[in-house]
Amino acid sequence: MTGFLTLFWEFFEIGLFSVGGGLATLPFLYRLAEKYPWFTTEAISDMIAISESTPGPMGVNMATYTGFQFGSVLGSITATFGLVLPSVIIIIWVSKFLEKFRKNKHVEEVFYTLRPAVTGLIASAGCSVLLTSLFHLDAVEVVSLENISSWIGVKECILFVAMLILTKKKKIHPIAIIVIGAVIGIVFQF
């Protein structure tokens, strides 16, 4: 029982201190691996692979996976609840504040520059997704025009352009687009 409490507390701490995105939990997981016999540091790379190839936020997937290694279903739930509890409390508190001050002059001033900044952040994340999915830059030592055929993903680029045109012409539900993507990937051996 105390083991579960420790697990809950450790993930509560991760939830409280990992600011900004799933990969922010990584250093904490390394520390856990050193501190407890729950899993090894080598297992962390498996965790990342599983978390990235399953849907959902990475942090939640990592907590579920780690918790499962510790104590199957109950372990998963304990770790995940520990992880999200701090942010739920904080966001509820911020929500109250936000509703009260939404029409405040300073809050409006802040959001005027904040929204474009977030747009820039998301664009940057989108670029890194595209860079890794359209090109195989790690397959070659030097990227040059001469070995272009070995680092450019032809199938991927065709799919990208085709999907871009398709979604511009017709409004398709994002879930349908992801399912279509998965099927194309399996059929055409991406």
């Binding site: 579920t64 499962f68 739920v88 966001i91 005027y112 890194s128």
Partner: protein, 183 residues
């Protein structure tokens, strides 16, 4: 009860189809929360992202808590959050108990090779939508590019970019600058 259930199912649906971390859920959020349910505006989603970026925790979970709270208080926040994390918990539990080496299966790798590409398309479309909403004048264009540049070319944490934009906004306000947002 009905709205609580809707919050739960909507966020489950987003959670079940978000691949590849925080920002990939943006197109799904726009579809479910903004267009289908009308729970938030696009601007509010951006605000939640900005706040989620500099508060602890996972951005998707934070956004779910925000939307849920706005609809139905603390109970709404809890239902939306539970909805957001339930699919991951179930899927990861199944995969870690049944399949060893799931991520190495050829079929999974093929599927993901293409899923990443279409997620890129989805993010591209989402960003162009956000651009229309958030970029109201030339100064905003500069802010987008500066944030993009810092996020892409440096290892500075996004939390600092959000913090910098906040300070800049307050500074402009103090200088009496009237942004396009106040038209």
């Amino acid at each position: 009860m009905n709205i609580l259930w809707q919050l739960f199912t909507s966020f489950s649906r987003i959670g079940a189809f978000t691949f590849g971390g925080g920002y990939a859920m943006l197109p799904l959020l726009q579809q479910e929360v903004v267009e289908k349910r009308g729970w938030s505006t696009e601007d509010e989603i951006l605000d939640y992202f900005a706040i989620g970026q500099c508060t602890p925790g996972i951005i998707f979970v934070n956004t779910a808590t925000f939307v849920g709270y706005k609809q139905k208080g603390v109970l709404g926040a809890i239902f939306a959050t539970l909805g957001a994390i339930t699919p991951s918990i179930i899927i990861v539990m199944i995969i870690s108990s049944v399949l060893n080496g799931f991520a190495d299966l050829p079929v999974v790798q093929h599927a993901f090779g293409a899923i990443r590409v279409v997620v890129g398309v989805l993010i591209y479309n989402a960003v162009s939508g956000m651009w229309k909403k958030s970029v109201v004048d030339k100064l905003c264009v500069c802010v987008v590019f500066v944030a993009f540049f810092i996020a892409t070319c440096t290892t500075i944490s996004p939390a600092w970019i959000v913090f910098g934009a906040t300070v800049f906004g307050l500074f402009l306000g103090k200088m009496g600058y009237k942004g396009g947002a106040k038209q």
